[in-house]
Amino acid sequence: MAASSRRLSYCLLKSNYTALLRQVTFQKSRCVRSLSSAITTETGKDDKDPFVVFRSQEVQRILKKITGLNVEKVSHMVSSTLKKPTYKLLTEEETQEAEESARKAAEWKLQMPPFMLPRKPIHDILSKDPDLEGFDSSKYVFTDISFGVSNKERLIVVRDTDGTLRKADWDERDRVNQVYNPTTGQVYIAPKMFDDENLERVLNDDKYIYMLDRACVQFEPDNPDFIRVTHKTFEHINKNRKFDVLRSTRHFGPMTFYLTWNNKIDLLLVDMIHRGLMDDCIDVVNLYVILHPTSKTANNMQDKQDIERVKTYCQNDAENKAELELSIQAFEDSLRGKSKQTA
C-alpha cells in the first residue's frame, strides 16, 4: 500500500484531498482489470473479436505474404533534414549484408496496425461526495505518471465540480496521455482532414497512404474515429479498385482483413488475377475460410487445391460472380496458351 501510494503522483494535489485520493489506490487493481476486459470483450453481433483472429499466427502469415515487400517503396520517405549522402566502397559480401539490413529495416516498417473493435465507453463512478460540490470552477484531473506505466494501464481519475470522483473517459485519457507521454506527430485537436466533409475530398485525391499513416499516428487503433477513417478509406479503395496503392505498405494487411471480414473480397480477387498474383488470390480465399468457418465455401472446400479453391469460392459466396468467373477463365486460357507455346 505504501509503495503504491508513493508510486502515485498527482498533477494537482491539495492536502485536504490526500485522504480521499488514497481510496483510489485501493481500487487500482480492480480498475486495471476492468479496463483490460473492456478492451478485449466480444462483439454483440456475431460474438467474435476480430483482433483475436487478426493476431493469430496463420492470419498474420497470410497477410504478411500478400502484402509483399518492395524495399524502395517502403524506404521512400521525406526526411525532415537534409543530409549529405555517404559513399562507401564495399565488397560483394558487404553489399549483400547491407542489402539484408535494408530489407530487415523495411520489414520492420511493415508492422500492421491492429484491427480492433471500437472501445467501450467508460462510465465508472468511484465515489460521490456532495460535500465537495462547488469546491472549484473547474475539474481536477489526477494522473499516475510513474515510470514504466503504459498509456493503456495508466490510472487517470477526474474530480468533477459537483464532487463526483470518476474515471476519466477515453477522450480525457487520450488528451492527458498526450500531455505526459506524447506521441510524436500526434496533435491535441485532431486534424480537420479526418472530418467527414474533408475526408471524401482527400480520398478523391488518392492520398490513401497519407490518410492511413496519419490516422495511425493520431488515433489509438481502437478509437472509434480511427475505425471510421480507416474503414471509409478501405471502402473507397474497394469502390475505385485502387488496391495496388497499398501493396507493400503496412495497411495492405488490415485492408484485406477488413474486406474479408465483411465479405467484400470479389473485386480484390479480380484485381489480383489481373495482375497475375494467383498465389495471393488463393491465400485470400484461405483467409476467407478461416474467418468464415461456417460459410458455404468453407463447407465445400475439402481436398480442393490451388485454383479450384478460388472457383469454389466463386460458385458459393461471390457477389460479383460473373466478373470473377470471367477473370478466372481468362487466367486459365492464358495459362493454356503459355503451355502450348512451350510445347
Binding site: 478492451i39 497519407y210 499516428v217
Partner: protein, 192 residues
C-alpha cells in the same frame, strides 16, 4: 447561388476568356517591369487592341477570392508571365552592399503598393495566399525537406511570409498538402 458561381456562369456564357481581355483582371501589368514589358510585347504581337494601364499610377489593389486565384494559376496569362518557374524565381531584391538585410515588413500599406520593388507575392494581385491554393503554396515548400522556404531565399515580405507559414500549416491540417508522417510502432501486447 454564390457570387462566384454567378460570375463564372456569366463568363462562360459570354465566352470571354478569363484574364486576357479584361483590363482589371490583367495582373501582368502590376508584376515588375521586365515581366510587364515582355507580356505587353507578346500581346502586341497577338494584335489585341487594348490601352495599356498606367503602371506608375498607384491604383487601389484588386482583391481576388481564392477560386479566381486558383483559376489564374492554371491560366494562359500566368503561363506567359512565369512559365514553369515558381513565382519568386526571377525576382531580384534591391539592396546596397554584399549582404542582404531581411526582407521588408510589408509591401502594401493602406491598400496600395508602397514600394518600388514589391515582393513576388505582393506584386501580382492575383496571387492569393490561401490554404486551398495548393499550386501557389507548393512553390514555397522545399521538395527535399518539406519545410517552408526562408524569405531570404524567396524575397517574400515578412507579412506574406507569416501568412504563407500559417496557410501551409492550415493546408496540411485540411489535407490539401501532404506532410511527412512519423512512423508509429505498435506494441501488440498493449491491446491484448
Amino acid at each position: 447561388m454564390s457570387v462566384n458561381q454567378l460570375k463564372s456562369l456569366v463568363l462562360s456564357l459570354c465566352k470571354i476568356p478569363l484574364f486576357s481581355s479584361q483590363m482589371r483582371l490583367q495582373p501582368s501589368y502590376r508584376v515588375s517591369r521586365h515581366f510587364t514589358q515582355s507580356v505587353r510585347r507578346l500581346q502586341d504581337a497577338e494584335g489585341e487592341t487594348e490601352v495599356p494601364a498606367e503602371v506608375n499610377e498607384k491604383q487601389k489593389r484588386f482583391e481576388v477570392d481564392y477560386e479566381t486565384s486558383i483559376q489564374y494559376l492554371d491560366s494562359k496569362a500566368y503561363k506567359q508571365c512565369y512559365g514553369d518557374d515558381p513565382v519568386w524565381k526571377l525576382y531580384r531584391r534591391n539592396f546596397k552592399g554584399q549582404l542582404a538585410p531581411k526582407t521588408r515588413k510589408t509591401c502594401i500599406r493602406a491598400n496600395k503598393i508602397s514600394t518600388g520593388n514589391p515582393c513576388p507575392v505582393c506584386r501580382d494581385d492575383h496571387l492569393l495566399v490561401d490554404y486551398r491554393n495548393v499550386k501557389l503554396l507548393n512553390q514555397f515548400i522545399s521538395p527535399h525537406t518539406g519545410q517552408v522556404l526562408d524569405s531570404m531565399d524567396t524575397g517574400v515580405c515578412q507579412k506574406q511570409q507569416k501568412k504563407l507559414i500559417l496557410e501551409i500549416f492550415r493546408a496540411r491540417d485540411y489535407g490539401y498538402l501532404e506532410d511527412s508522417v512519423p512512423f508509429r510502432q505498435y506494441n501488440y501486447k498493449d491491446y491484448y
